[in-house]
């Protein structure tokens, strides 16, 4: 474990990713109590450039962009983690069942993942969000529903590979039932690739959710969600580029953090990869 940690902290990308993530988390947790009200309008202060009073300027309704970006961090990180939590839970369960039960069940469950894999994910998420009603919770459900198969495939492959190993045989010889072997012996060992994938997927989920909000299927104005903010302010790019750029940079940094973290985790946990 200490060796792994040392390897992780010697990887500059991983450290940068972790630092970025911690900064964003801190912002999401503490920021809202430091910044102004993200919904307070002041039409006399429309589209003002950054100033000591408004560090990132104001938008077309005179709202403080910094306050909105800070509140958006909480939303986007929440959506990202929520999606990955739901999707990895569902995907891991399906993969574990498929790999553990084998035979007909395996075939059935894997064909099910094939179907969800072939779905154009953004379009499916859009359809689900449209059907359930456009809001943040439904965005999380929609994106989780289109991303779970990747975990199912990963876990199944791991279970199939691990099933033949000696420690499983030893457990079986000691009289452990198949349920116990699956949950206590196979699952913990199958989670490494899930962890790496989950790190990338938080970033991907943040991007997808922001895209959905941008075209109106996610968070609705005036919610300070990053994608929705870019959509609201895109027509003011010429007069007030900061209003749309600030939330976009927020998305960029959050996604970057999880991509760097994913690369770092992969390097540490899977020495074969580069």
């Amino acid at each position: 474990m200490r060796k792994l940690l040392r390897r992780f902290f010697r990887n500059p990308g991983a450290v940068l990713g972790l630092g970025l993530l911690l900064a964003l988390l801190l912002l999401a947790l503490l920021g809202p109590s430091l910044a102004k009200d993200p919904l307070e309008q002041n039409l006399l202060e429309r589209l003002k450039p950054p100033s000591p009073e408004h560090p990132l300027g104001t938008d077309q309704l005179g709202r403080d962009v910094w306050a909105r970006v800070v509140h958006g961090a909480r939303i986007s990180l929440g959506v990202g983690f929520g999606v990955v939590f739901l999707a990895s839970l569902l995907g891991t369960a399906v993969g574990l069942l498929a790999g553990g039960l084998g035979g007909r069940w395996d075939n059935l469950l894997m064909r099910l993942t094939d179907i969800f894999f072939a779905f154009p994910s953004l379009i499916l998420a859009m359809a689900i969000a449209a059907a359930l009603g456009p809001n943040l919770v439904n965005t999380v459900i929609a994106v989780a529903l289109v991303t779970w198969p990747i975990y199912a495939r990963l876990v199944r492959a791991q279970v199939l590979a691990l099933r033949e190993r000696e420690f499983v045989e030893a457990a079986r010889a000691l009289g452990a039932g198949s349920g116990r072997i699956l949950l206590r012996h196979l699952l913990p060992n199958a989670l490494t690739p899930v962890l790496v994938q989950a790190s990338y997927e938080v970033g991907a989920a943040i991007l997808t959710a922001a895209g959905l909000s941008f075209i109106g299927f996610g968070a609705q104005p005036p919610t300070p969600e990053w994608g929705a903010m870019v959509a609201e302010t895109r027509n003011y790019m010429a007069e007030a580029p900061w209003a749309a750029t600030a939330p976009a940079v927020g998305i960029l940094l959050a996604v970057l953090a999880f991509n760097l973290l994913g690369d770092g985790l992969r390097d540490v946990l899977d020495p074969r990869g580069r």
Partner: protein, 335 residues
């Protein structure tokens, strides 16, 4: 090989039916009555009843699904509630624009990602490698919609280098539609002015749509090349004094191509569905914009049609890639 193809084709069919089932279930979740949605709030009782009977909406759900599949076999995707036209006709009209855009984006991804990945692998941990990795990381993390807005603002509004949204200058007469892809149609009609203009309109959306894929491709190519370049036979190739060009292109690239190839099918499929955001921003009259507008007005026959079409194209592309793979790698064929 024949049995393999047949089995895979059967799987594509299965996935297609699965897609229709899932979308059908989603369409049942909407809290809005399709009859009321189609006829309007002020429709009379008997009008609604008649509509329900005509479209089988009064039957049990499984029967409705059966009816839907039956119509599907006759290529009848139903009628769009929004445009009032058969969905199949809408798809025929909007698909070529999406195909044109995603093919162009695919070209962008390959032309940028492939050389960048090779270059980075050959100069591992030196300036070119670091530059490519940084660019790939940044492009892969940038929200596509903001990239589009930013480039439109800079290259179109500020510098005037490239045209804005749309496929063709409104003052130009569009070439007679043959393929539905404006660039190709202009070429076929030998209308060079329209061709130049259509190409100019294509550059920005194609770059925006292809950028994330280019980043992904560069990363994959780099990893695959590094894997191959560390092999013994490459050292032998260097040792016997072959030129870099020969080592790279004749020995390394061929073997690195296989893992990259599997990625390409998924990449093209991803572009088709990723076109949603790009098309919306660039007012590109393709499937993405069509499905966005349809979903907004809860026009589920249209959404189901697009989902099915894109899902099937995606599955077929993957099948094609797998077959190609089997052709190139005998280990797969005889496994």
């Amino acid at each position: 090989m024949g049995a393999y193809i047949l089995k895979r084709l059967f799987l594509v069919l299965f996935v297609g039916v699965g897609i229709t089932f899932v979308t059908f279930v989603i369409a049942q979740v909407i809290p809005i009555d399709p009859a009321v949605a189609a006829l309007g709030e002020n429709a009379r009782e008997e009008q609604i009843r008649e509509f329900r009977e005509r479209y089988g909406l009064d039957k049990p759900l499984l029967v409705q699904y059966g009816l839907y599949l039956q119509r599907l076999l006759q290529l009848d995707l139903g009628r769009s509630l929004r445009t009032g036209r058969p969905v199949a006709e809408d798809l025929k009209e909007f698909f070529p624009a999406t195909l044109e855009l995603s093919l162009a984006a695919f070209l962008v991804a390959v032309c940028l990602g492939l050389p960048a990945g090779i270059w980075a692998a050959l100069r591992q941990n030196r300036a070119p490698d670091l530059l490519v990795r940084l660019m790939a990381l940044l492009l892969g993390s940038t929200p596509v919609f903001f990239l589009a807005i930013l480039l439109l603002e800079l290259l179109h509004r500020k510098l005037g280098l490239l045209p804005g949204p749309g496929r063709l200058d409104p003052y130009l007469i569009p070439p007679p539609p043959v393929t539905g892809m404006v660039t190709l149609d202009a070429l076929l009609a030998r209308d060079w002015v329209a061709f130049r203009d259509a190409l100019h309109h294509l550059v920005l959306p194609a770059f925006v749509l292809g950028s994330a894929s280019a980043a992904l491709l560069a990363r994959m190519v780099r990893a695959a090349m590094l894997e191959v370049l560390s092999q013994d036979y490459i050292r032998t190739a260097w040792a016997k004094g072959l030129a870099e060009r020969q080592v790279v292109f004749r020995h390394a690239l061929k073997n690195a191509a296989l893992p990259v190839l599997t990625l390409l099918g998924g990449l093209m499929g991803g572009l088709l569905s990723g076109a949603v955001l790009t098309e919306t921003i660039f007012s590109w009259p393709g499937l993405g914009r069509y499905v966005t507008q349809s979903a907004t007005s809860l026009d589920f026959p249209a959404v189901m049609g697009v989902t099915l079409l894109v899902g099937l194209v995606y599955s077929l592309l993957n099948l094609l890639v797998d077959l190609f793979y089997a052709l190139l790698d005998p280990r797969i064929r005889y496994a």
